[in-house]
C-alpha cells in the first residue's frame, strides 16, 4: 500500500467515473469506462490485491469495454443525457 499513489489514483477514479457518466457520446463513455477499469485495476495492484487486479485488467478494462462497444455499434451512439 502506497498512500500518495492511492490518493491520486482514487481522485482520478472519481474523475473517470464522472466523465464516463457525463459524456453524451456513448462510444466515448465506453472508452472512458474502460479507462476507469484500468485505473481501478491499478488501485487493486497498489493495494496488494494482485489476483483481483489481474481479473479487473482482463474483465473490467478488456472484456466489459469490448462488449459495451459492440453493443453501441449495434444500437445507438448518442445519449440524451
Amino acid at each position: 500500500m502506497i498512500l500518495p499513489l492511492d490518493i491520486i489514483l482514487l481522485i482520478f477514479l472519481v474523475i473517470a467515473a464522472v466523465v464516463a457518466l457525463k459524456l453524451r457520446d456513448l462510444l466515448g463513455a465506453a472508452m472512458v469506462f474502460s479507462t476507469y477499469g484500468f485505473l481501478i485495476c491499478l488501485i487493486w495492484a497498489e493495494m496488494g490485491a494482485v489476483d483481483v487486479a489481474f481479473t479487473e485488467a482482463t474483465v473490467g478494462a478488456g472484456i466489459s469495454g469490448a462488449l459495451m462497444i459492440a453493443t453501441i455499434f449495434k444500437t445507438a451512439r448518442k445519449s440524451s443525457d
Binding site: L10, A29, F33, M47, G48, A49, V52
Partner: protein, 151 residues
C-alpha cells in the same frame, strides 16, 4: 474543520471515496434515461463495492497474499520429521506481512458476477433496440403505453 478532516476523512479516505463512487453509480443507475448509461452506472456502482471490500483487507506494509515458499517448506519439513501438526506453530507465518486474501477471493467472484450481469444487460439492450428502435427509457415507456400488447 481541519481537525475533523484529519480524524475522520484521512484514516478512512478509501471508504469515503468508495461511498462517493457508489453514489455516482447508483444515481446513474436509477436516474439516467439511456439504458447504456444506466449500465455504466451500475458497473461503477458494483466496482465501488469491490473498493469497499478490498480496502478492508489492506494491511499497512503488507505484501501480496502469496506466502513465502521457503517458510512454508520449512514447516513442511518440520512436520515430515515428526514435528506433527505443530509445524504451523513452529514456523509461524506472520499474517501481518500479507494482505488479507479473503476479500480478494470474494471480489473475484463479484467481478465475474458483474461482467455476467453486464453481458445479459447488454443483450437485453440490443433486443430492446431491435423492438423499439431506441435506448431512451422515456421513449420506450411511451411506446409501451401506446402500442397494443402483442402477446
Amino acid at each position: 474543520m481541519m481537525e475533523w478532516i484529519k480524524t475522520t476523512i484521512v484514516p478512512h479516505f478509501n471508504f469515503w471515496i468508495y461511498v462517493v463512487i457508489m453514489m455516482l453509480g447508483l444515481w446513474a443507475a436509477i436516474g439516467k434515461n439511456n439504458l447504456i448509461k444506466k449500465l455504466i452506472g451500475l458497473s461503477i456502482f458494483q466496482t465501488a463495492i469491490l473498493l469497499l471490500y478490498v480496502s478492508m483487507g489492506v494491511k499497512e506494509g503488507a505484501s501480496i497474499p502469496i506466502v513465502d515458499e521457503t517458510m512454508g517448506e520449512a514447516a513442511v519439513d518440520f512436520m515430515a520429521q515428526g514435528g506433527g501438526a505443530a509445524g504451523a506453530t513452529a514456523f509461524p507465518i506472520n499474517p501481518d506481512l500479507f494482505a488479507n486474501p479473503l476479500p480478494h477471493v470474494l471480489m473475484l467472484t463479484a467481478i465475474v458476477v458483474g461482467v455476467a450481469t453486464l453481458g445479459v444487460a447488454l443483450a437485453l439492450c440490443q433486443v430492446i433496440f431491435r423492438d423499439f428502435g431506441t435506448l431512451e427509457e422515456p421513449e420506450i415507456l411511451n411506446q409501451i403505453q401506446t402500442i397494443q400488447d402483442d402477446v
